[in-house]
Symmetry: C2
Subunit: 445 residues, 2 copies
C-alpha cells in the first residue's frame, strides 16, 4: 500500500493532514488531499514532497471514483451525509475507509460487503465520537479484567474555550460546527438509571442539567445526549443498570440556553416571515407571551422566564444583542438560523484564543464486595484559533489509524467503531506522545 | 352529467352519502360509493335504488381510474395524503373533484391544468376547513359592503361533547381522528396582532391559551392554530392588523393538556423501548425529573408541574390512568401513540352521546368613525354517536356542493377553496334547512 486519499481540507482536517504527511515522509507514502476548493487543499499540503492537492466536486461520480480508485486508504472528512457515496465507491473499488462521523444505519448495511472484500471501514474515529469510545473501553476492560462488576458508566465531553481566553458571559465560543451547537439536544434524551429507562424531552433538557467537578478545573454543567442507550451493547455493558452520555458546558450556560429554548429561538422548522426587515428587538417582541403586560421587551421577556431584568440569564441574552434595534438582515430565516448567525461573530474564536476539550468518564463498580468509583479525565487546550485542541483530537486518531492500516497492523474488517483492544490500544498509546493522557482517580464509595 | 363517485365510506362519509343519495333520487343521478371495505360501502348505500357499492383499493391504479372514468363528479373522502393521486386521475380523465381536506401545495399546482380543462377542483369544503371559510367570508363581504374597514378577525372552532353527554373531567370526547387530536398544535402557531407577527411554539401553546364566551353556552378556552397568516390573502384581508384562527376546548382542558406536553407525552418522534412490558406508572416514572425526590410518582409529577397532587390537572391525569399499574401493551410505541391508545376508550363517544360543534367568528371594524364588534356564532349538537354534528357539518357542505356542480350552477374552475360568493352563498343558504345557522351580535366597542 502506498497511496492515501483525504477528502475534505477544511478546518477540521488540518491536524489529520499534517500528521499523515509527516508519516508519509517517513514511510514513503503518497497523500492526495482533495477538496472542492483546491486552494484550501494546496494550503494544507503546503508544498510537502509527499503531498498532492486535487480539486474534487464530490457530486461528480467520475472524478470521485478516479481519486478513490488510485488510493489504498480513503479518509472522508466530508459532512456526514456524504460519507455513504464514498462508502459505495470504496466497496466497489476495494478500498479501506476511515471517518470521524457517527456511523449511519445505511453505512452499517455495507458491513457484509466490506467483510467479504476484506475491507476496513472504521467510523467514529475522532474525538466524540472516537477518543471517548477508546478511552472508555480501555478502562471498562481493565475494570472487568480485575473481576469487578460495573454498575454505572457516565461519560461527558465538552468542546469549550480555555479559561484564559474566556471573554464573554456565556463562557463559550464556537470550536465546531455552529449549526450543530444551536440545534444540539433536539429530540428526546434517553438513558438508563438504576435499571430504569429515563426520558428527557428537549424542552426540559437544559433545565434538568447536572453538574460535574473536573479536577483542577472546577464545576461544570452537563446535559444528557440523545443516544445513551445505544452504547450498552456497543460497550459490552448489556447488564449495566446506569449508563449516560452527556455534554459539558460552563456553569450558567444551561440555564441561559434553556431560556432561548423556552422562548422558541432554537427551532429550525419554519421561516420567520420578512426576517430581513425585522430587528432583533422586534423579533423578540413577536415571541412575547401576550398575557404579560407592561415594560420593555427585555422586562417582559424576563417576566416570562421568571427572571429579573438584570439576572445573569438576562445579561447573557442582552449580551447576544437580542434586545437591540439592529436589523436581522437574513431573508426568510428560521429562528435557529437567525440565532446561529447572531452568535457567529459573538462566539467567534479570536486568532490568539485557546480552546479546551474536557472529557470525563465516571465508572462505578463492585469489587470483592466493595463499591468503587473511578474517574478518568482528559483536559487539553489548543494553541490558538487555527491549531485547536478540537482539531487535534479529531484529526490525530484518524491519522494514527490511517498509519496502522497502511502498516497492515489492523485485522478488524467490516464496518466498525473503535471499541476493540486491537484498535484502541495502539491509537491511545500513540496519542500520549501528543499529550493526550487521561488522569485516573479511584475512590471507595 | 349523471354519475357521482364517492371514494371513502367511513364514519365521516355517512352524512355526505345520505344527502347525495337523497338528491340522486330526485334528479335521477347514479351514486357509486367505493371503499376498500365493500361491506362498509354497502352498509352506507343501504339498498338505495340510485346507489351502487364498489370495492376499491386506491393503490390499484387501473381499478381506481376505471371508477373515476365512469363518474362526472368525484368526492374524495380519503385520508388527505391520498387526494393527489385522485387529483391526477381527475385531470387526465376530465372530472370535477371535491374534498373536505386542506388543499396541499401539490394540489394547488394542478390548478392551471384544471382550468384549461374547465374542471372544478374544490377543497376545504367541510366544516373546518369549510363552513368556517364560507361563514367568515359572507360576513366579511357584508361588512365591507357597508363601507367599513376591518381591523380584526378572529375565528374559533371546536368539535366537543355536548354538556348533557359530558361525563369526564376533561369535558372532551373524540368526535374526529384521535391521532390528530393527540398531535394537535405541534409546530409553531403564527398569527398577526396589531400589525405585528406573533409566534407561539408548541411547548407554550396550551399554556398561553385564551378564553371566549359563547352566548348561551358560557366560557371556553381557545388556543391558536398553526396557520393564521395564510388566510390574510385568501380572505382578501391583506391589510388587516389582527388575524387569528384557533381551536375551542372546554375550560380546564388546556392547562391539563399542557401538563402532558410538558412531561413529553405527546411526542410522536421516537419509540418507547419495551413499551409493551411497561405499566403506565412505570412509563410516567421514566419521565420524572430526577431532581425531584420523595413521594409517589403522582406526587413527584405534581411537583414537576407545580401542582398539588389533588389539583384539577392531577385529577385529569389520574383519571386517564397514567398512575395505574396496568400494562401499556403496545410494542415499541411512541409516547403519542400510547396516549392515543389510552384515550381511545376513555374519550369514546358512547352510543347515546351527543357531540357539539362550536364556531365563533369575532370581527372588529371601523364604520363612520365608530369601532364596532360583531360576533357570529354557530352551536350545533349531534343526535347520537353515529349521527354526529361533526359528520353532518363535514358531509352536508360536500353534498350540497356536489349537487350545485351536478346542476351546472358553479362556474369557478381550477383549484379553489370556498371563499367566493358564487360558492358560499348557495351552500350556506341550503345549510339553514339543516339547522346550520349563525347568530350575529353587534356591539359598539
Amino acid at each position: 500500500m502506498k497511496n492515501i486519499l483525504i477528502i475534505g481540507a477544511g478546518r477540521s482536517a488540518t491536524a489529520c493532514i499534517k500528521y499523515v504527511l509527516n508519516q508519509a515522509a517517513k514511510f514513503d507514502w503518497n497523500v492526495t488531499v482533495a477538496d472542492f476548493n483546491i486552494d484550501l487543499a494546496e494550503e494544507k499540503v503546503n508544498g510537502h514532497p509527499n503531498g498532492t492537492a486535487a480539486r474534487l466536486d464530490v457530486s461528480q461520480v467520475k472524478e470521485r471514483r478516479a481519486l478513490v480508485g488510485a488510493a489504498d486508504v480513503v479518509v472522508s472528512l466530508l459532512p456526514a451525509f456524504l460519507h455513504l457515496e464514498v462508502g459505495h465507491d470504496c466497496i466497489d473499488l476495494r478500498k479501506h475507509l476511515i471517518t470521524a462521523s457517527y456511523v449511519s444505519k445505511e453505512m452499517y448495511q455495507l458491513s457484509e460487503d466490506a467483510k467479504s472484500r476484506e475491507l476496513i471501514f472504521m467510523g467514529e474515529m475522532g474525538l466524540d465520537p472516537g477518543i471517548d469510545h477508546m478511552s472508555a473501553m480501555q478502562t471498562i476492560n481493565e475494570i472487568k479484567a480485575k473481576g469487578a462488576k460495573l454498575t454505572s458508566f457516565k461519560s461527558y465531553t465538552g468542546g469549550l474555550v480555555a479559561p484564559e481566553s474566556d471573554t464573554n458571559p456565556w463562557h463559550y465560543k464556537f470550536t465546531w460546527n455552529p449549526r450543530n451547537v444551536v440545534l444540539a439536544g433536539q429530540g428526546t434524551a434517553q438513558y438508563l438509571e438504576d435499571g430504569k429507562f429515563k426520558y428527557i424531552p428537549y424542552m426540559r433538557l437544559f433545565k434538568e442539567h447536572e453538574t460535574i467537578d473536573i479536577p483542577g478545573m472546577g464545576v461544570y454543567e452537563t446535559y444528557a445526549n440523545r443516544d445513551s442507550l445505544l452504547y450498552k451493547e456497543v460497550y459490552g455493558l448489556e447488564d449495566i443498570p446506569t449508563i449516560l452520555r452527556g455534554t459539558i458546558r460552563a456553569e450558567g450556560f444551561c440555564k441561559a440556553w434553556n431560556a432561548l429554548v423556552q422562548i422558541g429561538l432554537t427551532d429550525d422548522s419554519y421561516p420567520i416571515l420578512s426576517s430581513d426587515e425585522l430587528t432583533y428587538l422586534e423579533w423578540m417582541e413577536a415571541y412575547l407571551d401576550k398575557d404579560i403586560e407592561g415594560g420593555s421587551v427585555r422586562e417582559r421577556t424576563a417576566k416570562f422566564l421568571g427572571e429579573t431584568p438584570d439576572s445573569e440569564v438576562m445579561d447573557k441574552l442582552a449580551w447576544m444583542g437580542l434586545f437591540e434595534n439592529e436589523k436581522i438582515g437574513l431573508k426568510e430565516a428560521s429562528p435557529a438560523k437567525i440565532l446561529e448567525n447572531l452568535l457567529l461573530e459573538k462566539w467567534k474564536l479570536q486568532p490568539e484564543d485557546k480552546d479546551m476539550i474536557l472529557m470525563q468518564h465516571i465508572f462505578e463498580y463492585e469489587l470483592e464486595g466493595k463499591q468503587k468509583r473511578m474517574t478518568s479525565t482528559l483536559i487539553m487546550k489548543g494553541h490558538d484559533a487555527s491549531d485547536t485542541a478540537m482539531a487535534r483530537l479529531v484529526g490525530l486518531p484518524l491519522g494514527i489509524f490511517v498509519k496502522l492500516v497502511m502498516q497492515g497492523k489492523i485485522n478488524k474488517i467490516g464496518v466498525n467503531i473503535p471499541v476493540e483492544y486491537e484498535v484502541y490500544e495502539p491509537v491511545l498509546e500513540e496519542l500520549k506522545e501528543f499529550g493526550v493522557e487521561f488522569k485516573h482517580e479511584e475512590t471507595d464509595v
